[in-house]
Symmetry: C2
Subunit: 202 residues, 2 copies
Amino acid sequence: MADEVQQTPKRGRRPGGTDTRAALLAAAREVFSEQGYDGATVRAIAARAGVDAAMVNHWFGGKDALFGEAVLQLPFNPKEIIAHLLEGGVDDLGSRIIRTFLTNWDVQGGGVFAALIRSVAAHEQVAHALRDFFLKNVFAQLAGTVADDRPELRANLVASQMIGLGVVRYVAKFDPLAESDVETLVRAIGPNVQRYLTGALD
Amino acid sequence: MADEVQQTPKRGRRPGGTDTRAALLAAAREVFSEQGYDGATVRAIAARAGVDAAMVNHWFGGKDALFGEAVLQLPFNPKEIIAHLLEGGVDDLGSRIIRTFLTNWDVQGGGVFAALIRSVAAHEQVAHALRDFFLKNVFAQLAGTVADDRPELRANLVASQMIGLGVVRYVAKFDPLAESDVETLVRAIGPNVQRYLTGALD
């Protein structure tokens, strides 16, 4: 099922192949969540993955790129999630976006989201990564497929609602939104996201 | 006009009266914006205001309370802004919220918003202050006045949209939302905020 999150690979010392890459991604998600962008060192991430620190440069080119792929893209592959979201049709897309994101974020306990927000406020390059992964690869693709006009603004508007939802539910933990069940929020927020994608904005 | 922001008081050494309080608030806004919550010291804020550091405890009780009042409440007094927002009637309230907040935030250049987001991700007590000032004093008051049901959830939903809007416009600076004029965003977002306040959520 496309709604399922990817399993964290088992740890342990690995050869220099593609499972090293997967182990580094899993370790990076954990260490960035625990330490934030600044606190997470390449050395600590490599140690968590059980590989040499040089593997980070080999597979990702550096800490920024590893952060982008591990944290911002998580917990899904953009191409897969877009295909999944679109295959249900356009009319209910807003509700499907809320359901899919909250289901995945809830599994993470919001730790990754907190790391993202903490980092984006402090680092210009993380804002760029957020644009690339979260906006360009997901919401801009969706808006470009379903919107009649101004897909870029629509993608920005959807992102504003999704980011604010994440901050309120996982970081600021406002009550009752932080404790509301997913389907309550799907009904409350889904139509607003739908309007951003396909409604009249004037 | 209620939409006007308060002017920053002139600096200089002051007596221990209420203008010391105003000077500390103005200095705190500047120093928190520049340094974030952690980096901003009570000593630096007092020095910027031209008063003794003991005045912070005298007037605010400490750094947390000064942050809450200076940064989270800024650029408005909650009671004044609620009266201003409500006096235009309920039907157009969502649009009036967007117009009023963006007009005030734009004047600040978003620096205060970035400081807020940076701080709320790192400090549990700042999340509490955000709840008290931004949610309880503003959006919960509005929702409690105009909503037929579930005013607390509605206030949370409005807050999620406003916080996400601030992050996207001032912190992550997504294009084109960061450069859109206020009235374009009033038309795009106002109806969504209105639905959160007075629409059907099921």
